[in-house]
Every structure is written in C-alpha cells, then in structure tokens.
Symmetry: C2
Subunit: 532 residues, 2 copies
C-alpha cells in the first residue's frame, strides 16, 4: 500500500507524464481495477476499512486519531483463526482504543493487547512516517535507529535526515515547507524510508518458512513531507506535470461547504500554481522512487520463486487533490482523492484468463479482506465483512456485482465545519457512485452531482439543474438503502441464523400451545414429569 | 423491569379491568410516561438497548440469543467509572459474545469477563426464568436452590414447582400448555419467582452501605409460562378481560408479511378467543401478583427511609399482543407490544413540580442509561449514548425534545421470513412514530401507516391510501435521517473533537505551507534544527 498516491500518476493507468515500469509489469501479470474507491478519502478511516473489511459508518473510526473500537474484528483476527500470520511492515495510522482496552482489562503489553493496539497486525515494523507518538510503537523508532546505525544521528533522525535538506548556503532546510521540495533529502536514496521499508519487507518475507503469511507492506510515500532523496528530487520539471483540473465555475460555486473548503489554508496554498509545481514535481519523484523500490521487491519475489504462491496486491489508501478543483491534500470525493490504483496479481491458474486485463467493476477498499480470506480458503464471514472477494472477477467468472460504491467523510475536526456552522454530529458527507453518476450527500445542505461519463473531470456540479432531479432521487434512494443495512449484527453468522430458524424455539421452551395435542401435533415432546 | 407487561394492564394507565394500587402509588409520587417505546418489541434486543443506551442498529444484538458484541459499552461500565455499583437481580436475556471474548483473551471466569458476559452487571442474582442454559449463569440455578431449600425438589424445581400445577385427578399439569393456565402453580405464592426476586432485591439493597448503587431488579413475569400461584390463578374471569382489538379488514390485509405473521402458529393460537381467555386471565393474575410484591418492595423503601435518596424506575421490556390484531406474543410495533409502561420516581426536590403528572413526550428505552448517569452526575457520554436524560422532563423544564421514536425488528429467525421468501439480511422492520403517525418500514415491501389520533387502536393501515402519500414521504425522510446518524463513532467525545478542531494539526506536523513566513504567519514554529 502506498499513501496518498493518485491512480492517474501511474503509467499503467494511462499517465504519460511518468513511467512506472515496475507497477506496469505487475499490472501485466495481474488485473487492473479501473474503478476502485476507498471508504474514506483520508488515511485513518480508509485504512481501518481496509483492515476490517467494513464501511466507516460500521467501524466508527471516522477520522485520523479516532481509535478503532476495541473488539472490532480485523483482517488479522480472521487470518489467525485459519492459521495465517498477518504482519505489518510500515504504516497503519492506527490509534488504539485505550479506554476500551482498559475497560476490558487488556494491557498493550500483553500478546493480545499488542494485536488490539495494532488493529490486528503482528508488528514486524511499525512506521507511520510522522513526527510524534502518543502511544508505544506509534511512530518510527525503528527507522530512527536504522538511520543512527548508518551514521545519521540526532534527536529525531527521521526529521533531521529523511525530511531535511541542505540549502545553497549549507543551511538546514526543512521538508515541512514546500519551497524546499526541489532540494535533495539529506538521506541517500539507499537509506530513504521507502528503500528501508522495502528491505524490511523482504527481510520479513525471507524470515517466513512454509507457513502461510500476509505482509502488509505499507509505505509512507508519496505522502508529504515533500522531500525526495537524490536523484528523485530533480528528476522532473514543472512542465512534466499534467495540467491542473479546475474551473472558474467551481471557484464560484454557491455551495457553502465547497466555498468553505476552498477557503481552508491548505487548499488555498495548493491552489497556487507555484506551490503545486513545487509539490507536484517532488510528488512525481517520490512515486518514481517507490516504483524503483517495488522493482527491487518484485525481483526478489521472482528470483526466490515466490511468484508461484504469493498474491500481490498494490493499492493506495487514497489520492491527493494536488490543486485540482482548487483543493489541496486529500478529502472529498473527486476521483483524484477517493479513487485509487489497485493492481492484483493472483498466482493461481484460475486467474490466467484475466492477466494483463482491466475491469470497470466497482470495487471498494473493503473488498480486500474477503479477497485475502478467500485466497486462504477461510470461512464465510459475510455477517461481519461488508466487502466482497474479488476472486470471481480475477477468474473471469460472470458474476453479479455491486451497483454502487460508497465513501464517507467526517469533517467534524475541520476548520470548514466551524466556517459553515455545522454541529459536530452533522459534519457528514457520503459519496454514492454507480459507475457513471457520482452523488455526494451533504448533511443539512444540498447534494453534489457529477456525470463522469460526460464530465470525467468532475467540473460540472449538476445537483441544482432540475433536469437531473430523477438521478438525484435515484441516488438518494441508494444511499438510504445502504444506510439501512445491517452492519452491527456481527455476532451471528448466516449459518447460525438458518439453524435458529429451523429450531423455531430453544429447547425446553413451548410458546402458545393450547394443549398437549397441539404440542405433540407440532412434533414436540411434553416435559418429562408432566402428564398433561 | 417487568417482562412482557402491556402498558394498558395497569390502572394508573387507565385500565379499569385490573387494579394495580402499588404502581398507581408510584405514579402518584413520580412521573408517568404516556408515550414510552422500546427499541425492539422482543426481550433480547430491547434489553440490550436498555443496558447500552443505544439503538438496536447500533449494538447489533438484533434478536434473542444474538450475543451483545464484546466491547459494547454498557450502563455498568459507565456507572463503575464514577464509582457506582451496578448490579443485577433477575433477568437480562444476555448472551455473551464468546467468540469475541476468546479473540480478546477474556475468560468468563475473570472479574472483567464476568461483567462482559453479563452485559456489564455485577450479578447478585441471574435468573432468566427459562428452562435451559447455554452459558454459566444464564439460567435460574439460584431459584432452583431456593426451592430445594424449601422442600421443593426435583431435577428442575423451577419447572416442576413454579411451572407445574396439580390437575383434578392429582396428576402433574405443565405450565407450558395454556389449557392449564387456570390451575394454581404448585409453588405457594410466598415462594413464587416473583416473590423470591422481590426478596432478593430487598436483600441486595439491604446489603449496600452508603455507597451509591443501581439495582436492576428484573422480573420474569407476567411473561409466559402462563401459570400463577394461588390465589392469583383464579382472581379474574374471562369477562374481566378487555375486548380483543382486531378487525376483519386486518385479517384480509394484502400485505404479504402481515399475512405471514398472522399465519404463524403462535398467532393463530392466541387469536382464538378461548386460548386468549385462558392466557389473559392468568396474565392478569401474574400482573396482580407483581403489583402486590412491588408493594412489599415499596414498603421496605419507605420504612427504611430510602425514598429520600433512591430513584425508582418501573418499566417493561415490551408488551404482549394477547390476540390483538390476530397476533400472539410480542413482535411488530402495535402499541400493545412496542409501547411500555414507564413510571419514574425521582427523590430530588427539583422533581416535585411533576409528581403525579404524566407527559406525552416521546420517550425511548435508551433514555434510561443517560437518566441514570445524569442522576449520579456522570460525564457527558453523548458520543456513545443515543438516548437522552429524562431529568429535564421530570423537572418540568421547557426543553426541546425528540420528534420521533424508533423501534426495530429483525425477523431473520422467524418462520414468516421463509414464508415471504426474504433474505436473512433483508428481514428488517423499523418503526418511526412521531406521536401521531406510526410508520413501519418493511424492507423490500410496502410500508404500513397508522394515524393514532384518529385510530388509536391501529386498525386501519393507511399506507396504500394515496391521500397519505405526503405523510409517508415525510416519515420515510425521518427514517433516512435517523439511519444516517453517527452511531459507531464512540471512541471520541464531543470535547475531544472540539480540541482536535482547535489544534488544526497534530504537533510537529505542518501541511501545505509554502515557506517559513507562511508557517510563522500562521503562528507556528519551524522545527528546531532547520533554519528555512
């Protein structure tokens, strides 16, 4: 998993401004998903959906730093049940539910506590690529130690070497401000966070014997800070960037929330051409570096024969608006943010028919957990998991598929929430995308509507055009349909419910029988001691 | 809490066929809630809502025997945080989430495991008033032992003494068939389950010192089996029963689910006048017995001065259709089932203004948890709790109140689900009641609609009448509004979210700043080591 990687910055997705030959190779060996959407266009909630196979409204971790509630079943839980080790190398953005753990007497130091605190993963490496920690293991101590071991010392080697450059006068320049993005990080490329995580991923795989495993190799990049090691820092020029996608009409929208969003500092910053150019060039360099490192990983897998029995999934946790639509960062549901690259290589013969092909099926981040369980022949968990195994698609099987994808966004902690005067509880957005029409529910405001067939750049919000009233109504119904579904009924499986239906009443319970004859006529026995 | 007690079988609610002077006395000292609804008209899910303060769609325990998921915060959890003991004397219908507990390494034998397995209660007595147990402590071992101690022996004293009678020829007659309902239970009234639970409740209260406590004194009755001890078994005659409420139009409904429901064995049974008469007379006797025993409890509280500092809440977990609408048992959302009696005595002076009065405010079972927390001055838990404290109503404060009550029903395990050919996942009903209009959403079928102002007996389903299209649409919108609300975002409080909004970014993180000037202009500090 990459972090904040746009789908349209990979050449296998048609990008002509960058070459990503290693990911292209993966696409040629597997299947490319053209309409893959995350469950929230922001790290934490998106990842919690990837790790639980459940929508954000279900797992409840709606924003970065909102803990995943204790007891929420994870990929790791499901895999361990069937004897598959599930490990982490890199970032999760997980915040443990300390209050919930305390309530249940689970200490983070215990074996189970460590799993709960890491959303179900056994930690080989935890590295969130951020500065600070509010929990043991939250941050990148391992990478700090690695840098120190290679002579890169300091209070915070991650920041001082990987995210700091040397300026023209020999001064220290921080990666935290975008004007420094053209400079090379102090860290050499062979010791960058991306290179190091790749090595750690290979170390992990190398250490596994014949036991089945899943490795969540989870990169920080091309997520900010925008600073790449040489030569990636100056591999591209501003002219290489694709044109920014935005319109004056968008800037003039009457929608209060969209106005507020464009007014947020980070959006105003990234909407400036000069800032976008600085950041975008570095972003491309970081992607190129990631592709090169993935090449190293794929070579290792090829050379060790592991391509024969290893499924490889490449994706991102969300994209980056990168100035499009006058927006910076991720957030909201434009394709630059909510749509992700997704490539899956399935080693099995059954997947041969689709190698090198692409599908337009609507796919969601929550589909990965059931895909992995399916790969390892796990039991049906459809009472917990809200996604669907992608295996039928990869095996070219004609299959009924979902009609719409859903993504959610909780802007309760955003400045814009106060700007529009919304209550915390109502700062809710939801996207319903049916493959053509993208409908955005905005609680207590009018919705947005885009026709991606006629307007793939999503420049024209049709929601106020009365011609589209029927579409709005249809999509609103889909949103309602989805909202009503069971999503907390996770303690009884379909098979158990079927058995309860067969049993009609629990043993020893007899309801509404007038007399012995009625009871026996229904095939039931009277209690032993009674004669009538 | 009584079990399966209809609101309209209490004289304080206007019943003229039965006198319940002790509950009437409580009503005269407290407040009577005229429009109190349970979150599901069936024991398990209704109780889990009472015990968590959350809707059924949120806690996920949608049917009897569907375990309450591990980690779902309970009343007991909230009270223990503020030093209040929260104990059980009687029934909960709780099924522990054994799989979830195992996943988290919580054993039922541990202190915390025992609480988790009992939905947060410290067990003084657990007695579910049913025959069989699939979990330690599920059933009525304590009452069995009590009966044995009083010379009532057998393999299953609960069944053989409390739920068995002696027939005219001296033979043993089971309480499990309704024809025996006129007979007296073998157990004398001073040792009945209702009497015993009352004594145990008094024992519990007596054993508490000056520490604050909450006692969930939870009776089995007037729930079936229909067998009362003398003299309650023949205190009433069939002529005392209120007329059955049903119409030929109802019987002829075109609604496939309602047809299927009326066709269920237990409904066909209770729709027969003779069976209803047998059951109803006993039901009245059991209510009279409960009222007498509550009189004993209230006397104890008065005599020990505990009325000065004890809040008393009387309610039921749901009602009983008792042949009305051609239905038996509970289920569905007619007022005989989904509406409950609710009386609250608040000892504080602030509640003096409303003593002996009634309110038509729409109240839900989930309101009790916040009411208790409020009484004990607990912190705001509105990110977890979906109910509202009733204190403002009891203090006569003008307050904005909810506009509609919600109840849910999962018929996945019912015969009728197969009869109508519905998928397990779609066997869902939801009631939206706004104080006048009762709307029942039936997944994949047409809704039901009743106007309780013009038709308080709910005999006329208006949903197919085009005159009411606007009402249907308005109520459907309310259902959608409710469905969209956050209900799993339970790990961050409103105060925490407000602090996150203030902070804008976590410490040490700087997003989208072009340069040092922008950063400092925003009141931020550059990282220590960097100069630009």
């Amino acid at each position: 998993m990459a972090d904040q990687l746009r789908w349209d910055y990979l050449s296998c997705y048609g990008a002509d401004h960058i070459e990503t030959p290693n990911l292209d190779w993966l696409a040629s060996r597997g299947m490319r998903f053209n309409k893959a959407y995350v469950q929230s266009p922001i790290c934490g909630p998106s990842r919690m959906s990837f790790y639980t196979g459940r929508y954000v409204r279900s797992h409840g971790s709606t924003w970065n730093g909102f803990p995943l509630r204790v007891g929420e079943p994870t990929l790791g839980d499901h895999l361990r049940e069937i004897g598959v080790k599930c490990s982490l190398v890199g970032k999760t953005h997980m915040t443990p539910d300390k209050e919930g753990m305390e309530r249940l007497g689970i200490t983070p130091e215990s074996t189970i506590g460590a799993l709960v605190a890491q959303c179900g993963f056994e930690v080989f490496v935890r590295d969130d690529g951020t500065n600070h920690s509010d929990y043991p293991g939250r941050c990148g101590e391992d990478y700090d130690q690695y840098l120190r071991d290679h002579g890169m010392d300091g209070d915070n080697p991650w920041e001082e070497w990987a995210n700091t450059a040397i300026g023209p006068a020999g001064e220290m320049r921080t990666g935290w401000v975008i004007e420094n993005a053209p400079l090379a990080a102090r860290v050499p490329k062979e010791h960058s966070e991306t290179a190091w995580l790749t090595t750690r991923g290979i170390d992990y795989i190398e250490a596994q014997g014949d036991q089945p495993w899943l490795c969540h190799l989870s990169y920080i990049k091309p997520h900010w800070p925008f600073l790449a090691p040489a030569p990636y820092n100056d591999m591209y020029k501003a002219a290489d960037l694709p044109p920014v996608v935005r319109s004056d009409d968008e800037r003039q929208t009457d929608h209060p929330l969209m106005q507020a969003w464009m007014n947020m500092r980070v959006c105003k910053s990234m909407a400036r051409d000069e800032v976008r150019d600085l950041a975008g060039v570095c972003y491309m360099g970081l992607i190129k570096e990631l592709d090169d490192q993935l090449g190293r990983l794929f070579s290792y897998l090829r050379e060790t024969g592991r391509m024969d029995d290893t499924m490889i999934v490449f994706c991102s946790d969300h994209g980056d608006n990168m100035g499009d639509h006058w927006l910076g960062e991720k957030d909201l549901f434009y394709d630059c943010s909510a749509r992700i690259p997704l490539l899956i290589y399935d080693p099995r013969d059954q997947a041969d028919a689709t190698r090198g092909t692409a599908t337009d099926a609507l796919v969601e981040g929550i589909d990965l957990v059931p895909t992995f369980l399916d790969f390892f022949n796990g039991a049906d968990k459809s009472h917990i998991l809200e996604g669907r195994s992608l295996s039928p698609l990869m095996q070219g099987a004609a299959t009924e598929w979902r009609e719409f994808a859903v993504s959610e966004y909780d802007y309760a902690t955003r400045d814009s929430r106060r700007e529009v005067g919304m209550d915390q509880a109502d700062a809710r957005l939801a996207m319903i995308f049916d493959g053509r029409w993208k409908y955005v529910h905005v609680e207590k405001m009018r919705p947005l509507l885009f026709d991606l067939e006629d307007d793939p750049d999503e420049l024209c919000d049709l929601a106020t055009n009365p011609e589209y009233a029927n579409e709005l109504s249809r999509l609103r119904d889909l949103h309602f349909e989805w909202s009503r579904q069971h999503h907390s009924r996770i303690t009884r499986s379909a098979a158990q419910i079927e058995r309860m239906t067969d049993a009609k009443e629990p043993p020893g319970i007899y309801i509404g029988y007038r007399d012995k004859n009625e009871l026996e006529g229904d095939g039931r026995q009277m209690p032993d001691h009674a004669s009538g």
